[in-house]
Symmetry: D2
Subunit: 356 residues, 4 copies
């Protein structure tokens, strides 16, 4: 069973390679009657697309999405929504050098071994370019969730040693780092310039939260809401760790401190991150995810060829010194996909339950 | 879609409540011809079962597993394996007090709201007692994996502020904490005694690794090996964070440091944790998971009743001051379930690919 | 992926062999709050159980079902329902003779080749005894459907050349053949006696209908309601053909005859069997299924041994001359499982749509 | 859970409407290294496409397929294969008349009620035009199966009262009816001309067989090979009945006649249709399927409007008097999709079993 489908009720099946014809998806199970236009999706795509700033890859892709089906007279029909973005600025020639080399930190080696063949151009299917379709599908999910009063937002909260706790959500789209902390923009900018000079890269941390999620979403014991969030965020390229609520800090917490007490006003704290027993509590659902530093750097590295010979490799091309930056809209999209799926799953089994 | 099934090819569907008739599972998709006896499973269960030491809940459960089907003349037949453990020491009377109260940090509130009804006895389905079946199924998975030369081991590497990096794997089963670091046993023991005195609890961190995993397992782009590990570990009761390889440390790493270079001898490091692009690299696969402090403590806490009235609650009963301890065999089991499923999935699609 | 689970939202995972410890199931996704007792399930099981009449196998099995989980204080809790029937009258000695022979018309050969091992006792997993769990799960589904005003009924409408069109539904449980046509009972009885004398067997046809199904259930384009009915009925042991509505008669019909016209009173006919485009129309949903003659007969037959040698085989043991008879409650159960699953699936995606 | 995905390991997710932008699919789980070109798929598409003869709809669609991903340098890469056909000859104006009328025998009414909205142009998603993607995906499946020595072929064996048992497979592509019986071509031609004159339509029966299927495919107890064939064929537009092997004829057969005896030369007959206990026997797998007469006819029929008013309707447009004719390549495609999925499923669980 190949793994290119996300979700159980609201499913997203994606396809496409970095330097192939394009990227696409089938979004199945979307409720009917939702207003949906290309612009809704395009807006989300524009936030993640390459070439938007000097901090991210200079590949120029308009990433113009086309809705191929499932929308009629401006509304979803309940039938599958086909999406397509054609690749434009592919420059395959940049990549011919790596045809026979496994770039360290990349999936070149594992794809080659798994399938016995790989599209080496720009990483093929393993390229982060694949995430464009996550963002597109996430935009549809977000529209469904908005009808339920749910909004999702994410921000870069750390880049290397520059920590940027959320201070001001309104700042996120006003800087090139999706940073909710204006004070951190200048140090981040300095760090990126330094990395470019060094030909190196750095990791990042992203915080995401969903407001308005009602109590009751999540399907224990395996398909818990937090478990699916963990999978969703860890499935993003370069992700290495996921935390819900207080995350790894719980290791040193006491039970008397961690457990979120309740009064008639509701929960008195949210150490849990809005999930208890795998089911949403009605509080804000939040999580964090860590992204490794970009593997494509210009500092030479040791690797082997497909023939098994040792070589030094320098990854040319147009790469981000910090892949985490552009991951912000992707993290939001994955959170939206998790939530919309659990919304429908819960509704299927429990539509009749009174929760107020 | 309820969420009580794990896996795509090697599936485990569990059932059972803490104080009901018992716990059970259907393991479907296990290859035929594997030697399997009750003892194989019992051995694993005995490691996690309650009442084994003064550090964990004093509930006395023999947890005797019965194989109901799928095994004939000592070997699996390829048909589903039914498993059952009957509950013995249930003492339901202990729990009648919480019938109308939502214990803070527990799933009482979320189950009640989701389903409109809950088995309040000992947490019902949300009890960690459910994990007995994960361990039982994991023991079967481990036998399949052993045939492929794969072994899995986990250890408690931190309890509260007592850090216990892996030093000596042979020590794990020699202490009550599943700790691979003899020096940490005494401080951990002291901490537990202090917590018992205070009626409080503490969190924990567990490290797990799988040795012998070949290159090629994992199904990008969503069902990556690391994404499924993240989900599997986060689906365990009380888990709040999961890391693969260097985890959150990647945030401050440079690309030149993190990327694992290769020579003709193989990878020169394993910052990735044995996974690149969601596919195993052939190195040791490793992960970490954080468990929150036990929510059932004897320090009074604020909560509300099912009628919406404010009350103070003291959780009586027999509880672990650190739920993370007993999670060690569960973490191993979940890792086994992830790997065996990906073994079969990869074999289904790629059985013909030469990888040597 | 093994195939022992039915359904997407209301799932049934079964296990167990004819002569093993017993038969069991996990029913996951059942809505909470449904009244459910062992008696509800037992009633359904009693209709299919062996030993009820001289027309069916004389194996004596009380088939006493035990609910292991998922029900609390008489109501379902939304958590998985574990079910178990222990085998009693197994008489494994009857079957030792066939250990090394492949009974013609049975699955002995295919199980042996597929898995390299088989539980030869009474057919092991391939025995129709497995269907007890379908009936048990179907009884739970029927309770959910009853709340929606849906009832399901089936009848034997043909045995060999004895045709018995539905005349009087009230007669079904008053005869040993589940026949809704009192006039056919005597000829069927005569046929069975003749077959017993000859040591032979005969096929059968069953008609099933579901009344009260609202418009809108079924998930095109692949998971159509009629497609899932076809799979469900064909998945029953010995089934060889399935028809919905007019079935194979449509081959010679004209469009002007077949299409069900509508007036303000509703549909004027029901050639379609209550399904258009894979979605229920609001009319009665009906289907037919054909069962092959019992393969276990006392007339000697040619076969080979597991060593590849030719032998003549006589199937001893306690067998029905017409397996179709006992299939009636199983057919009802599978129809219930299809409908309840589609009820929840439709509700998940389309709960908000006004249909009146 | 919407139902637009077929398969468990080799999955096909389709999208697209009759008069929308086009039709597409994602084929996931295809083994890597299979030679695949547009021509391979186009060849199959050309057999089913409209406008090929006067016997079928006169809509002119080149149905030019584009491979969007998953193929590199002429071979599959193991990553998802995206497919797209853009609609050309849509003539939406033909359909505006039916915007507010539910055509009898069509899915207009059920889609409207299920989703509260429908793309009424040419039936939208419910149009048989959707099946183009089944044929395209089936062509890929057929290439995988060909490597295993399996070939699939189907033929129209009855149209109305004109019966055409298979006589000569080489004739199938030499007549406009996909008929393997040259004697039947003239009577079929006469029947079609008569129907055109009357403005009426007629049903059809198709026979399909797969040669070379090895013993061991199929996943009891629910995902039996024959059960999945039943679902696959019943999921095709206008299908109303499915039979495997002797089908409904088994009702009147005796066990001594039906059971396929074995000698050291193998099975002596194939009443079972190549499946026992839901697992392939190694013989030819065969099935039959009945298609209802085209619902779009020019004889006026009674229906209601979306406002609930009674009207007479005449379906204009370009329609086949016998939809069954063009179903022949679709039936082959669905058989291929069933088989390839079971090939991979069996290989996943049982790759190590010796079957010779």
């Amino acid at each position: 069973m190949a793994g290119n489908t996300w979700g159980k009720l609201f499913t997203v099946s994606t396809f496409g390679e970095s330097h192939g014809v394009g990227l696409g998806a089938v979004v199945d199970g979307c409720p009917a009657g939702i207003e949906l236009s290309c612009e809704d999706i395009q807006q989300a795509l524009d936030r993640r697309r390459p070439g938007t700033s000097r901090y991210t890859t200079q590949r120029q892709e308009p990433d113009q999405v086309e809705i191929l089906s499932g929308v009629f007279e401006g509304r979803t029909t309940g039938t599958p929504i086909g999406l397509l973005i054609r690749n434009q600025d592919q420059r395959s020639q940049d990549y011919s050098a790596i045809k026979q080399q496994f770039r360290p930190g990349h999936a070149d080696y594992t794809y080659q071994k798994k399938y016995g063949i790989r599209d080496y151009r720009g990483g093929g299917r393993s390229s982060a370019r694949e995430t464009a379709m996550r963002v597109a599908a996430g935009a549809i999910a977000a529209k469904v969730l908005a009808q339920q009063g749910i909004s999702i937002r994410a921000a870069l909260t750390q880049m290397g040693s520059v920590v940027a706790p959320v201070k001001d959500w309104s700042a996120v789209n006003g800087n090139a780092f999706f940073c909710a902390n204006p004070d951190a923009v200048e140090p981040m900018d300095a760090l990126i310039r330094e990395l470019k000079k060094q030909g190196d890269s750095v990791g990042a941390r992203i915080y995401v939260e969903a407001c308005g999620v009602p109590v009751g979403w999540g399907e224990p014991v395996f398909d818990r809401l937090d478990a699916d969030i963990a999978k969703a965020l860890m499935s993003i390229n370069a992700a290495k760790a996921v935390a819900v609520g207080d995350g790894f800090d719980v290791v040193t917490q006491r039970g008397s401190e961690h457990r979120d007490e309740m009064t008639i006003e509701g929960f008195q704290s949210n150490h849990a991150g809005g999930v208890l027993g795998g089911i949403s509590t009605g509080q804000t659902v939040n999580a964090e995810v860590a992204f490794k530093p970009t593997s494509s750097i210009s500092i030479p590295g040791k690797t082997i060829t497909t023939e098994g010979e040792a070589v030094d490799i320098v990854t040319k091309g147009r790469h981000d010194p910090c892949v985490g930056i552009r991951a912000v809209p992707i993290v939001e999209a994955m959170m939206a996909l998790v939530l919309v799926d659990h919304f429908l799953r819960d509704r299927g089994q429990n539509a009749g339950v009174q929760r107020s």
